[in-house]
Amino acid sequence: MGKIVRITGPVVIADKMKGSEMYELVRVGEEGLMGEIIGLTEDRATIQVYEETSGVKPGEKVEGTGKPLSVELGPGLIGAIYDGTQRPLTVIRAKIGDMIKRGVSAHALPRDKKWEFVPKVKKGADVVEGDILGTVKESKLVEHRILVPPGINGKVLEVADGAHKVEDAIATIETADGKRDIPMMQIWPVRRARPFKEKFDPNEPLLTGQRVADTFFPIAKGGTVAIPGGFGSGKTVFLQQVAKWADADIVTYVGAGERGNEMCDVLVHFPQLKDPRTGESLMERTTLIANTSNMPVAAREAGVYTGITIAEYFRDMGYDVALMADSTSRWAEAMREISGRLEEMPGEEGFPAYLASRLAEFYERAGRVRTLGSDERFGSVTVLGAVSPPGGDLSEPVCQNTLRIVKVFWALDTGLADRRHFPAIHWLTSYSLYVDNVREWWKQKLGEDWKSLRDEAIAMLQKEAELEEIVKLVGPDALPEPERAVLEAARMLREDFLQQFAFHEVDTYCPVEKQLGMLRLVLDFYRNSVEAAKRGIPVAEIKKLPIKDTIASMKRLPSEKFAKEQGKMEKQLMEQFEALLKTRKAPVEEGKREG
């Protein structure tokens, strides 16, 4: 048993710790606060403590537990809300009240709840690690597959049926090392990635129902995304939008060091929202990790790992999982704080030198994989990390190290947010490296070359940016009419396509079919109006076309209605332009004043 010799904030130093391992979970002080060993020198251990340390004294004991910080995996995860070390917050509240006090512990998975277990293997069958032993209907949306834990292969001697608790053995397997009872619950150390057979390139888009994401900067199932932006640029709202509408089977939302009221927002609103594909409540597929900014900083560091381990566990069942981490900057700051207390040599801006490798390690746990098990099962973990750069300056270490790893960059722009252009994802600075990966999917699914439309739209916005530069110098009147038509169409693209109201009942979620239809209309308008302007129609006339208002109102149309009217709108557009062209026979110099 060890003895505390020093306490400074969340860091405790203890002596007589010989025999302890790195990252071993320990109980600190008389109250048995939860901590983790993060440094060892002979028999002296450095411990980061996941709970508030006020009142702890040198001389108090430290007990090793012999195992690393781990999470409990099994039925009961869905719909739960945990803190960074997987303490169930609703249970804790029932136990000790509205404020979180330290020294409380509770099982992450309810021990006395019985789950209806349906076996999928027969007695006598040979199974390997990762095989499905049976299933539990955990929520209306999630069939929880109970897997043979990694490292266990053999013959099924016994398999249960019916209602069982998570700790009950639901199967007995004869392995090379003897008989093993398999309960529904698995325990897994958070800092170790769960095993799989093979990793593949992501090739299927993770659809979010957000136009700027799906059409412009798509993410793929198993991909990685960074969303950096200053405060107020809408990171959290957009991340929550993705958590709500992404076509993932499971969503793990990690609130690391963010606002309490925001987590409460998720808790209040997710159960009320319906999944557009299944019509069930969104909470039926969601697990929340909430370690708000005022909760102990070390637990914030752990929360990110807790979240990704849970995500991997569902991936192993063959599901597509999306993990949102809001915000990775707070996680990095937790590392910095602990590192500072350890008096480590700081790297850039005081962050520890291992910041880059920790970030890379974390994002590398994303991916589309062939899981363990004898059946061909595929699953994926998509990681979306918000980054909160100080002063909105993207050159800071967390941003830069993240951008070196991730494949999609949704750059939130404070200037756009100030204009209430939401989502404030900037079309010129953002990028996605999955465009070519998902191109084939679009072609098969929608039978259309989405990429050429998308490229045309982005080129139009690029052209707009160039023209805006000229306008800034010489005023809008100096531009020839066809270029003013480009500006007009680009404005339409921004306002009627890219802007999306997160809080509008219809516009909050836009299916891809509708996205493509909307984009096609805007591009039709663009091509026709540039053509018309070239043939002498003043832009002022084009602006008066009623189709402009029709296009402006399409985002509010429910998708079924839009699908019905799309053809009609396209026809109207053509007719109106034709009629307009008929009014002019020859090019006219009009609408041009002396600048």
């Binding site: 040198p58 809300i81 917050l89 405060f231 009221n261 005022n294 500072g340 700081p346």
Partner: protein, 463 residues
């Protein structure tokens, strides 16, 4: 204090004094965060707290400053307690020092309980989502950056801007429509001048708010380190009023910049690795432990609403203090020097301002159905107008189209009629929204894309 005699120990072994810190050697059983009493050779009693506890050594931060402490005769008493503050209804109507001692000449208030000043984090699962609209009577806040009960909404200001007047006006006018409930104000001054403190107290006295207020004052010439403690006392009192007594509490914290500077001083004295601009790396976490004490709790009546004020050094919103604050609080109200120079009061620039909880605090049944669209459109139009102003500065007014000119006029009228209002003018939410419609009516209807056509029909077209 119970058990004091058993737990407390006294030492004469101050080994080192440096800045606000003091190192005591030869001690045993000192707890992290323990409260310390320091008795100087002159008999002055100071208070401190343990920042770093070793087996035989303790690093103590002294709240009243270390002047007068020597390494020979100074007695240091470790009390065995963490910092507690006596809370009770008697705190209302009283004025306290930055350490919580009464300074209004009255007796020491009788307390009902002693609470740890650091509080405990509210369990996110126990939080009630804030959604009750607070009408401040100020158009630019109510209409465009709505405040709700349980929110923390800071004022980002600059030296010489009227943030104090605004805070006082909000404290005076804030109400929840159609309700008569128990209300209290907790005022916490950190490093503010005597004049500023007097301004608030006078305002509270005149309006009769003082009897519903608890005032904590750490003035500019009080010890800087005491500022670390003052807001925590204030928030402990606020939590007691809200969650034990069921009151709706508005906490005004001013000026957070002074607080952060005190924190930097301690960090420097401990020779910690500095983060940006010399502020400690844990500034975010430290600020969060205060700001996050705002909120509502399920099943409890009261609420803590925070309005911290901070002056941005050099009006720089990317300075670490406003920057980290903005990442924790649920929005911000940004004061703008240009508006102030134009004589607009309150000089709140709505573009960089934001209220994150607005969406659930407004709409039918709370304010009015058209509120969100009205506000979004005003934002967009004002932003457009401001852009055009910049354009006019370059290319001159002649190059503008009719549409552009309308936007320019809109921006001017918006500043002068919508944002601008009297220091005692208390506008109802209906007045504010109608004013918004009146201004929007000056723009071409086809430009109003953020508004649902049904509201255009109902609110824009009549008259």
């Amino acid at each position: 204090m119970k058990g004091e005699a058993v737990k407390s120990r006294e030492y004469l072994t101050v080994a080192e004094v440096s800045g606000p810190l003091m190192i005591v050697e030869g001690v045993s059983g000192v707890a992290y965060g323990e409260v310390v009493e320091v008795i100087t050779p002159d008999g002055e009693v100071k208070h401190g707290q343990v920042l770093d506890a070793y087996e035989d050594r303790a690093v103590v931060q002294v709240y009243e400053g270390t002047r007068g402490i020597d390494t020979f005769k100074t007695r240091v008493r470790f009390t065995g307690e963490t910092i507690k503050f006596g809370v009770g209804l008697e705190l209302l109507g009283r004025i306290f020092s930055g350490r919580g001692a009464p300074i209004d000449g009255g007796p020491k208030p009788i307390f009902e309980d002693e609470w740890d000043v650091h509080g405990a984090p509210i369990n996110p699962a126990a939080r009630e989502y804030p959604s009750e609209f607070i009408q401040t009577g100020i158009s630019v806040i109510d209409g465009m950056n709505t405040l709700v009960r349980g929110q923390k909404l800071p004022i980002f200001s600059g030296a010489g801007l009227p943030h104090n007047e605004l805070a006082a006006q909000i404290a005076r006018q804030a109400k929840v429509l159609g309700e008569e409930e128990k209300f209290a104000v907790v005022f916490c001054g950190m490093g503010i001048t005597h004049e500023e403190a007097a301004f608030f107290i006078k305002d509270f006295e005149q309006t009769g708010a003082l009897e519903r207020a608890a005032v904590f004052l750490n003035l500019a010439n009080d010890p800087a380190i005491e500022r670390i403690l003052t807001p925590r006392l204030a928030l402990t009192a606020a939590e007691y009023f809200a969650f034990t007594q069921g009151m709706h509490v508005l906490v005004i914290l001013t000026d957070l910049t002074n607080y952060c500077e005190a924190l930097r001083e301690i960090s420097a004295a401990r020779s910690e690795v500095p983060g940006r601009r010399g502020y400690p790396g844990y500034l975010y976490t430290d600020l969060a432990t205060m700001y996050e004490r705002a909120g509502r709790i399920k099943g409890k009546k009261g609420s803590v609403t925070q309005m911290p004020i901070l002056t941005m050094p050099g009006d720089d919103i990317t300075h670490p203090i406003p920057d980290l604050t903005g990442y924790i609080t649920e929005g911000q109200l940004c004061m703008d020097r240009e508006l102030h120079r134009k004589g607009v009061y309150p000089p709140i620039n709505p573009l960089p301002s934001l209220s994150r909880l607005m969406k659930d605090g407004i709409g039918p049944g709370r304010t009015r159905e058209d509120h969100m669209d009205n506000s979004n459109q005003l934002y967009a139009a004002y932003a457009e107008g401001k852009d055009l102003r910049a354009l006019v500065a370059v290319v001159g007014g002649e190059a503008l189209t009719e549409r552009d000119r309308r936007y320019l006029d809109f921006a001017d009228r918006f500043e002068q009629e919508f944002i601008n209002q009297g220091r005692d003018e208390d506008r109802s939410i209906e007045t504010t929204l109608d004013l918004g419609w009146e201004l929007l009516r000056t723009l071409p209807e086809a430009e109003l894309k953020r508004i649902d056509p049904k509201f255009i029909e109902k609110y824009l077209r009549p008259k």
